[in-house]
């Protein structure tokens, strides 16, 4: 094998005066930023959608179902390209031009990833709520709570605990999926990975390092979620998957 190992190239100076390891760190920073903001959007919107899909109002259920089907059945990269290349054309000219020229790429990228993930979280929130005994809603209503209060104090606190394991894997997914935003110009970790390969050709070293970083990221998310899981556990209640 005529591959030349060179583990010290990470400290070499790049074209723009920084060092390669600094490129990796800045990529990691953007990966975490994109993932966390998208996750926040996905949790808020996903929860709202999940809730309305379990209400008695038919048209609310329809909105929620349609959203989920739409965003689940189109690949993420296609969705991002729609937001970047198609959506601005449908807007009034001034708004479209602003989006194409002045808006930093990372903002629509975060929105795109958040909206995509919201569909998956909506599905989980819905199944969490539906897994609770029907009697809980009725008991809440019989006690004089309004339907929003039943959701706030009775259903959602338990539903979230039940779906924490699946939320864990979705949070890990969003870190992985944030890599797709490189295609629309976000300078996150995968973008830097690709760029460093193009500049240095040290494929194996950089692959090992970036793989390790993604692995540690996924593992950290997993541990943080496990911590939340054990902190929020209701004594005497088995909420599956807890370790």
């Amino acid at each position: 094998m005529n591959y030349h190992w060179n583990w010290t190239f990470f400290f070499d100076v790049t074209d723009d005066g920084e060092r390669y390891y600094q490129w990796i760190l800045s990529g990691l920073g953007w990966t975490v930023t994109v993932a966390l903001f998208s996750l926040a959007i996905a949790l808020l919107l996903g929860s709202a959608l999940g809730v309305i899909r379990t209400t008695p109002k038919k048209w609310l259920v329809w909105i929620g179902d349609t959203y989920v089907e739409l965003f689940r059945n189109i690949p993420l990269i296609v969705q991002l390209f729609l937001w970047f290349n198609v959506f601005p054309e449908l807007l009034p000219k001034a708004a479209g031009d602003f989006m194409k020229q002045d808006l930093p790429d990372v903002i629509p990228a975060i929105l795109g990833l958040g909206l995509y993930t919201a569909a998956r979280i909506a599905e989980q929130v819905k199944s969490g709520i539906l897994s609770l005994p029907r009697g809980q809603t009725n008991a809440g209503l019989a006690m004089g709570l309004t339907l929003p209060q039943v959701y706030q104090y009775v259903l959602l606190p338990m539903a979230y605990r039940i779906i924490l394991p699946t939320l864990t894997s979705e949070s890990m997914n969003i870190f992985k999926n944030s890599s797709v935003t490189y295609a629309v110009g976000v300078l996150e970790l995968y973008f830097q990975y690709k760029q460093i390969i193009e500049k240095t050709n040290q494929v194996l070293e950089i692959t090992i390092v970036v793989t390790a970083i993604y692995f540690i990221l996924a593992f950290s998310v997993n541990r943080i979620m496990a911590l939340i899981e054990s902190r929020t556990r209701v004594p005497g209640y088995i909420t599956g998957g807890a370790k």
């Binding site: 690949p75 990269i77 290349n85 198609v86 054309e89």
Partner: protein, 226 residues
């Protein structure tokens, strides 16, 4: 920009169809290969040999924690290096070919976890009964456990295949011409983003939505049998 220009699509439908065919081919290849490999990995993971189960757990955890785009690019670049150990010379294998290999290896980790759940859903007593009848491990797996595990997990395996079908679009990372790649290349030449990307989105939606309906029906059918 003007209105929605259908002629861009009709003029290029052959190129788009070729891309879609490639997407379907990689999906089917990786599904068959991935389920086969995934079943082996699931059996290894559940085996009592520590080395085998550790290897399988490592395989699954590794591929499930790194982004697919990275795997696609890394394999595309590393396979020629690895092959050069045997052939002595570096020869690129082509983006289109490397995707078949990458997706099979990558999806095996996901299919493997599904098959593991399927195997574990079979009551232990059935394995014991099989041994009591004089079957060996291979026979118990082949005639007793796997057929049932496979049937129980069929809806989930198919759901994973729908995800795989969508994930093929990430070969964009290495410039292979799948369905999305074809549309993207046409757009680079003709500059019709609205028509091209909307078409891709609509076609993907129709295919994936219909398939997920089929899976739902199947789920109901299987639920009755059990």
């Amino acid at each position: 920009m003007g209105g929605f220009d259908f002629t861009v699509i009709t003029a290029n439908w052959e190129f788009l169809a070729k891309g879609l065919r490639y997407t379907v081919q990689v999906t089917l290849f990786a599904m068959v290969g991935g389920i086969f490999l995934g079943t082996l990995i699931a059996m290894m993971r559940l085996s009592s040999f520590k080395a085998l189960s550790l290897f399988a757990a490592g395989y699954v955890n590794l591929f499930r924690s790194i982004p697919l785009v990275q795997v696609i690019l890394a394999f595309y670049l590393i396979i020629p290096i690895a092959l050069s150990i045997f052939t002595g010379q570096m020869k690129p294998i082509g983006a289109d070919n490397s995707a078949y290999f990458t997706f099979t290896i990558f999806e095996a980790a996901y299919y493997g976890e599904i098959m593991r759940a399927g195997i574990q859903s079979i009551p232990k007593g059935q394995v014991g009964a099989g041994y009591a009848l004089g079957l060996n491990y291979g026979q118990v797996m082949r005639y007793v456990v796997l057929p049932q595990a496979f049937r129980n997990m069929l809806p989930i395996l198919l759901t994973q295949t729908i995800i795989l079908f969508q994930d093929i679009s990430l070969v964009y990372a290495i410039g292979a011409t799948d369905f999305f790649g074809a549309a993207d290349k046409i757009n680079q030449r003709d500059l019709r983003p609205v028509e091209m990307y909307t078409t891709v989105a609509v076609v993907y939606f129709v295919i994936c939505f219909s398939l997920s309906r089929v899976v739902k029906q199947l789920q109901k059918k299987i639920a009755i049998i059990r």
